[in-house]
């Protein structure tokens, strides 16, 4: 980048467009190369971070294992024929004529042992990833989108609109999220989409507050004034100019909250308020084994029914947090570069 261009550059402003703006009629929607470059740089930074990459590999591996655990059939058509899990997660093995009893210790045939209903824990843990992971990703996507719009509107308009919108957030923050999720599930009933809704209802507030704070900072920039002076509508100013420059913390927050949601879903499962009791969801599996652990089945302790499902949650959440920290570092370094460039002017 030449010094010349550095001189007129303002962060987040599309410099190429400035050059092609004369004459005004030449205004074209050129590809936003500057933004692309920014993310490419962040990705390069991220790839260099070994612990973050380890987290990414683990998350990808766990997602693939969950996806390919059992065949997926949509409306009678098998879209995913692979079956990595050796047994049906719901199958009670001795009922199928197999020589398997309840609480069998891990062996070659059953690497994670069997649970109290003689089901294969390994198959259940693989398959169970589907619930936690998909709910985690869906909830974070939806909540981030809602929070983004809400926070952007509140922060951009400010004044009374902001005041009212933020008071509503204060209400949500007055309760521990898990408590609200429990009440919502109690009201709606148990089930997959009920869980998604419950965690969406409590999750968006954090993003809204975060993005509002960022918007307040970003909207003071001169390019926002410039965009307004050029006659851009509010919606365009918010979503083309302000939001892209305020979004980095949102992405960090989103990557860190996937783990929070996964733990929350499992916690509800553990409390018996998540999915139906026989489902292979990780938290629900732990709920079923708690009684056995606490009362002791007499004789040997079936540690495997506790260690493996919980270990899966821990491994996934830990990896997600490694990724989140990595993204944070990558985007922070990015901001550092911006600051350095600003110093040149």
């Amino acid at each position: 980048m030449s010094t010349d261009r550095g001189r007129i550059r303002i962060t987040g402003f599309d410099a190429d467009r400035v050059e092609s703006r004369e004459p005004l009629s030449d205004w074209t929607e050129t590809r936003d190369t500057e933004t692309e470059g920014r993310w490419t740089r962040a990705w390069r930074e991220f790839r260099r971070n070994r612990s973050a990459m380890l987290g990414l590999y683990i998350v990808i591996a766990m997602s693939l294992l969950a996806l390919f655990a059992r065949p997926i059939t949509i409306a009678g058509v098998t879209v995913q024929p692979i079956s990595l899990a050796p047994y049906d997660p719901g199958a009670i093995l001795y009922a199928q004529g197999l020589d398997v009893s309840a609480y069998e210790a891990p062996s070659l045939a059953h690497p994670f042992g069997t649970d109290g209903s003689a089901r294969d824990v390994f198959s259940r843990v693989l398959y169970g990833g589907r619930f936690s992971l998909s709910i985690g990703f869906i909830v974070v996507l939806v909540t981030a989108a809602i929070g983004l719009v809400y926070g952007a509107v509140a922060g951009y308009y400010g004044g009374r609109v902001d005041e009212v919108m933020m008071r509503l957030l204060d209400l949500i923050f007055a309760f521990p999220g898990l408590l609200l999720a429990l009440i919502i599930v109690a009201v709606l009933g148990k089930g997959y989409w009920e869980l998604v809704l419950a965690f969406t209802a409590i999750g968006w507030a954090g993003y809204a507050r975060l993005i509002r704070g960022e918007i307040l900072k970003v909207k003071e920039n001169e390019y926002v004034l410039a965009a307004k002076a050029l006659g851009a509508r509010d919606r365009r100013v918010i979503f083309r100019h302000v939001v892209p420059n305020a979004i980095a913390p949102l992405i960090v927050q989103a990557s860190l909250s996937i783990g929070t949601v996964v733990i929350g879903v499992a916690a509800l499962g553990f409390l018996g308020l998540g999915l139906p009791p026989s489902s292979a969801e990780w938290g629900t599996m732990l709920d079923q084994t708690r009684q056995t652990i606490v009362q002791g089945p007499g004789g040997s302790i079936p540690w495997w029914v506790t260690v493996f499902p919980g270990g899966a949650i821990f491994l996934f959440v830990m990896s997600m947090n490694l990724i989140g920290d990595g993204i944070n570092d990558a985007l922070d370094a990015q901001e550092g570069e911006d600051v350095a460039r600003g110093g040149e002017v």
């Binding site: 209400l171 521990p176 999220g177 408590l179 609200l180 409390l271 919980g310 949650i313």
Partner: protein, 317 residues
């Protein structure tokens, strides 16, 4: 703005939030299709329409929603929080009987969180980028990634079942006996670990930031031993930022109690709440929700005021 004025303004601002919290609590439970009476009727089809109306009137469930809210709020303000149907006992004494158990658990969790977080945070900030610092970061990362219910189960598995150091179930002793306090260690660690990890991160970064300030250089130049510089000057200033997240952590300990009390079969408010949800004890759900909301708001208020007292600059914002 003087300190007194700041506190007055802050307290006044709390009133509408408290009102909102009560509305939200009420709305969550009541604005859903099918109130408890509908369910009662559905389960007992022999109830006649006249009887249904009488039951509604008795529980204040006739009339429009706003009127129901006012009735409920009026009762709450007079200390009448309704009835726990399953034991046919008023809600207030039912909650009061369980509150000390939860407070004991929370305080234990707090104590353990502080005991781990403050020294580790100081150590990590003073010895930045050493092996110890790295280890403390691994601890923090694991701490926030551990699901508390799983941590609790694992602690029971290892320390109660395998090593036999703790009883699996709480001894039948008064809350302030030695046996009980000893028993509380495992639940306390379970509930405190996540908070401790968060607290340690805040402690470390705020200590590290304070270490770069000029007064530290001045104190060193004065010839003070490094110990005094760190433990007296830097630590005091870093603790300010710790108080700000204290309120947040109170909320997370409350949420933790819901789960941890279930793991250890601890007879506190959290377990009562889960029981209330499973048994659809509407009055109890509302009472505990309202109680939690009010507690957290007051904790936030206290944190803000403490922050203003500790850091005189804050009032002039």
């Amino acid at each position: 703005m003087s300190l007194r004025r700041f506190i007055a303004v802050r307290v006044a601002a709390t009133v509408p939030i408290l009102f909102g919290v009560s509305v939200l609590t009420f709305a969550l439970v009541h604005l859903t299709p099918g109130d408890p009476i509908d369910q009662m009727v559905a389960l007992n089809p022999q109830i006649s329409a006249a009887e249904e109306a009488a039951i509604r009137a008795r529980y204040g469930l006739d009339g429009p929603v706003w009127q129901q809210y006012l009735t409920w709020m009026g009762n709450v303000l007079q200390g009448d929080l309704g009835t726990v149907i399953i034991v046919d006992q008023p809600v207030l004494p039912y909650i009061m009987a369980r509150l000390p158990e939860t407070i004991a658990l929370g305080l234990f969790g707090w104590a353990i969180a502080l005991l781990i977080a403050i020294p580790t945070g100081i150590y990590a900030a003073v010895n930045k980028d050493t092996l110890g610092d790295d280890l403390s970061r691994v601890f923090a990362l694991s701490g926030i990634s551990l699901p508390n219910f799983w941590l609790g189960l694992m602690l029971i598995l290892v320390f109660a079942l395998w090593l036999d150091l703790w009883p699996v179930l709480a001894p039948d002793k008064p809350l302030l006996s030695t046996e009980m306090l000893w028993y509380l260690v495992l639940p306390g660690v379970t509930i405190g670990t996540a908070s401790s990890a968060t607290l340690m991160r805040v402690m470390r970064s705020s200590m590290a930031e304070e270490m770069n300030k000029e007064y530290v250089t001045a104190a060193r130049a004065k010839g003070l031993p490094e110990r005094t510089v760190v433990l007296k000057h830097v630590l005091r200033n870093s603790l300010i930022s710790v108080t700000t997240i204290a309120a947040f952590l109170t909320a997370s300990i409350f949420a933790g109690a819901v789960v941890v009390e279930q793991v250890f079969a601890w007879p506190g408010l959290g377990r009562a709440f889960v029981g209330a949800i499973i048994g659809r004890e509407v009055d109890l759900i509302m009472a505990i929700t309202l109680f939690t909301g009010v507690t957290i708001i007051l904790a936030n208020l206290l944190a803000d005021i403490m922050y203003a007292v500790l850091d005189p600059r804050i009032r002039y914002d």
